[in-house]
Symmetry: C2
Subunit: 141 residues, 2 copies
């Protein structure tokens, strides 16, 4: 991607990567995407995955999520939405709650900054990890 013009060339690699991203709701890591893309293009390199995930994010075709872990997750749904993160297994799931767009304006007013985006995440334990926790508790008794 040309830094000044933002011009990008169409490549097979980027196309496959975007397809993979859009084919899942699991908010995959770069490495997961890599493994998946390799099924279609065995010679693709991990560097290319990283470069394209970055490019796609800059193009507004994907979101990069951090959420505490040491690695990023990516989301092929670039429309802002909120997430729940399981602190036990790391799973990230989409939440179907309305966007609070008006918040950005009020923050911009109050803090004297320009606001272009916001993120809202919830943390806790997913249904699956909760049931495992129950099992372990029962075993302990």
């Amino acid at each position: 991607m040309n830094k000044k013009t933002g011009f990008v060339r169409k490549t097979k690699q980027r196309e496959v990567i975007l397809n993979v991203l859009r084919s899942t709701k699991t908010h995959p890591t770069a490495d997961w995407v890599y493994q998946e893309v390799r099924k279609h293009m065995p010679n693709v390199s991990l560097g290319t995955i990283y470069r394209n995930l970055k490019t796609l994010t800059e193009m507004g075709e994907a979101l990069e999520l951090s959420y505490g872990s040491t690695y990023s997750r990516f989301d092929g749904n670039a429309k802002n939405h909120y997430h729940f993160v399981c602190q036990e297994c790391g799973e990230v799931v989409d939440l179907d709650i309305p966007l609070m767009a008006q918040l950005e304006a009020s923050v911009a007013d109050a803090a004297d900054v320009k606001v272009t985006d916001h993120r809202l995440e919830f943390y806790g334990q997913c249904e699956h990890c909760l049931s495992i926790g129950d099992m372990q508790q029962n075993q302990a008794n």
Copy 2:
């Protein structure tokens, strides 16, 4: 910190680290804390900084913030609050807007999960970076 009992021993290092954390509103990185603590304890090691920042976070005395960067920032104010992140200079500032605690319950209901925490951040450009941008724009003309 003992993993089972959560028992921690009081140390000079942890005390200084917590004091440093609480003495600033800048949401410092581990390395910034390291440089600061070194002024009081020249022989402290970076590993000790990391270990204690982790311990303090687990103890509920500090918050660990990710926010996109490749490194963590820490916050000596452990009470949940919201942040604004400048995407240009990386600065993180506290926002003085009311906590939306009721959201956690509604997410827990809707998604069938246990919610223990939530995070809300706003992204954009801080006042300082905005004015620099203006200057560059003016120079270009």
